[in-house]
């Protein structure tokens, strides 16, 4: 994308980089807490999401440790139930739903689009505060007497247990609004704040993905909100709609819950697809393959994703007719996803591939997500799901797609944009080592769970039969390995912040607009609005400059 003025004004050699950027523009904690700058809000989100991930990860390690032996290992029944509930709820509501859109997306979206900010900056800040309040409610539940319902809050257990379910529900309710606000903001921004020349089909795929995600956030999350509200009221006064003792129906709750929570899994994965779509072409120095197919398949996934919720309920007593419809549409989702996977692969064909950390994570994603997605197809087959439902096969499926898919893409994006966000390069060698460690750890943790599942081991089990011990132990070792990988990652990333700013404006030679601002970007993003004249994946004009360690645009006359 050419921006005639951008070359002159915005791309500044590192040595003379303006000391005035969004990080330094204003000082003091208060300037952060009251900021309306999307970049700062993005960074605050990033910090919060990472802390929540640490919390969720610690719960995961406790869960895995407990499962080392068939009987009691470190905690008792009830504590175990609280641990996996909080692990699931924290990871889902606090980590991956806001993860890519609210943390990375907030920072990148306006920059990539060529806008000065999101459409509603105040709403954006409000969304962050809601996240914080929601997180505090979750923590409150943890402190009082953590909920033990599972992250799915199925009735009538959730309406009768004595643990503090209400704070957890309130937390999720508030987090839902945080997510809705982000979605509304992103749709409006993409519709209304595109600069001249930025047509829909010149938008980077990350933006297409965020757009599709925002559509789901806006359409699905309100239903979660009302569901949780009904559950809260049920607990307080006994509303009866989900209560069999009052003529209600517990299965109805499952319909309500999954009407949100299946689309929610696409809130988690579609932005990850977007990250892939930006990184793979950059590191292959080649135009993305099948741009329109990838862009539109995101939209297709977003819409079809609403019509498959019943595949979580094949054994719930749901009617055969409903089950059939839901199963059929679940399979249709595999097609747009397949299109994406194969197009990414084809992008690498005849490229020039640089295997830096972000790209390694993308390759990692490509393989691991495919396994996760394909096992989703196993579960979509009604008869096979009857056997596999609520076993560790499901646990393995969703960790392959959520941990191996979303979180991996989140890491890919974080490494890719880290220099842009903080103006520092991280240690490349440690980046690759940690990535490899995580790859081994992930497969060692979750592959044995597929085997456990097909052999009949149910999920949410505190005690288990001795025959399953070997596989559980492998899984636990893998989890420790992942913990190690995250520790090293945290160490070198945080370590990089202590260095002097050294990142060039465009270390990877990407052609999307965010790389045409200095690293870190200026407070107002662009001095002059960029004018876009070409697609986002044209690399011919970018030349590596050894002195700055980054890419610079060839002058128009071919000098």
């Amino acid at each position: 994308m050419t921006s005639p003025s951008a070359t002159a004004d915005d791309i500044v050699a590192p040595a003379e980089r303006a000391s005035d950027n969004y990080l330094t523009h204003e000082k003091g904690i208060l300037s952060w807490l009251t900021t309306l700058d999307h970049k700062r809000i993005g960074v605050m989100y990033l910090m919060c999401v990472m802390s929540a991930f640490l919390l969720g990860g610690v719960f995961a390690l406790l869960v895995r440790t407990e499962l080392l032996t068939p009987g009691r290992t470190i905690v008792d029944h009830d504590t175990y139930n609280q641990l996996f509930t909080l692990h699931g709820a924290v990871m889902v509501f606090l980590v991956i739903i806001p993860g890519i859109p609210a943390a990375l997306g907030n920072f990148i979206l306006p920059l990539q689009l060529g806008a000065k900010d999101v459409a509603f900056p105040r709403l954006n800040l409000a969304s962050w505060y809601l996240w914080v309040i929601g997180a505090l409610c979750m923590v409150l539940s943890l402190v009082i007497n953590a909920a033990d319902t599972g992250w799915t809050f199925y009735t009538p257990y959730s309406t009768t247990t004595t643990t503090s379910v209400i704070p957890a529900l309130t937390g999720a309710f508030i987090l839902g609004f945080s997510s809705i606000f982000t979605g509304m903001n992103f749709i409006t921004t993409i519709h209304k704040l595109r600069p001249p020349g930025m047509t829909w089909f010149r938008m980077p795929l990350f933006l297409w993905a965020l757009y599709s995600t925002a559509v789901i956030q806006v359409l699905a999350t309100p239903v979660l909100a009302i569901t949780l509200l009904m559950l809260i009221v049920e607990r307080v006064v006994g509303i009866g709609i989900f209560d069999p003792a009052l003529g209600g129906d517990p299965v109805l709750f499952q319909h309500f819950f999954w009407f949100y929570s299946h689309p929610a899994v696409y809130i988690m994965i579609v932005p990850a697809f977007g990250v892939m779509g930006d990184i793979i072409p950059t590191f292959s120095r080649k135009r993305i393959f099948g741009y329109k197919f990838i862009a539109l398949s995101s939209v297709a996934i977003a819409i079809l994703g609403f019509l498959v919720w019943g595949h979580h309920m094949f054994t719930s007593g749901q009617s055969v007719v409903s089950a059939t419809i839901f199963s059929a549409i679940s399979f249709l989702i595999a097609i747009p996803t397949a299109i994406k996977v194969f197009n990414w692969l084809a992008t690498m064909y005849k490229g020039k591939i640089h295997l830096d950390t972000p790209m390694l994570y993308c390759l990692f994603f490509l393989w691991v997500f495919t396994i996760g997605g394909l096992t989703g197809v196993f579960l979509g087959v009604m008869s096979v799901d009857v056997h596999l439902h609520d076993t560790y096969f499901v646990v393995a499926h969703f960790h392959y797609v959520m941990m191996g898919g979303s979180i991996t893409a989140f890491l890919a994006g974080m490494h890719y944009w880290w220099p842009k966000m903080f103006g520092r390069m991280y240690d490349e060698k440690w980046g690759r080592i940690s990535c490899g460690l995580l790859f081994v750890g992930l497969n060692l943790t979750f592959f044995p769970q597929f085997v456990l599942g097909t052999r009949g081991m149910p999920r949410r089990y505190y005690n288990y039969l001795e025959e399953f011990q070997g596989l559980h132990q492998l899984s636990t070792v893998g989890a420790y390995l992942m913990g190690l990988a995250f520790l090293t990652t945290a160490a070198y990333l945080l370590g990089s912040l202590r260095k002097r700013a050294d990142a060039p404006a465009n270390p990877w030679g990407a052609n999307t607009l965010e790389w045409q601002t200095p690293s870190p970007p200026a407070y107002y993003n662009f001095h002059n609005p960029p004018v876009v004249t070409e697609g986002p994946y044209e690399y011919a004009d970018w030349v590596y400059n050894k002195r700055t360690g980054g890419y610079e645009r060839k002058a128009a006359d071919g000098r």
Partner: protein, 100 residues
Amino acid sequence: MPVRLLVLVWAVLMVLTVVTVAVTSIDLGGQANLVIAMAIATIKAGLVVTYFMHLRWDRPFHTLVFAGSLLFVSLFISMTLLDKSEYEADIDEMSVQKGQ
């Protein structure tokens, strides 16, 4: 929107409200009353959306957005109702004990 149109729409809305109340007192048998009440409500809603909310003159995209929300609500309700046959009549007869 000219004031006359505004007031006209308002008048129609008021009349429809009276009609819907009046219709209730006549038994039309079966689900007919419900269907008529919902039809009238939908006409009223349509008037409010097209005129009071200016959708008629607004960008078509906003109509699409709003219609989309109605589409998804109706998908939600209809797919859930589809499952109704499975809810059993004897739910009532079974006494369910609540543990704690």
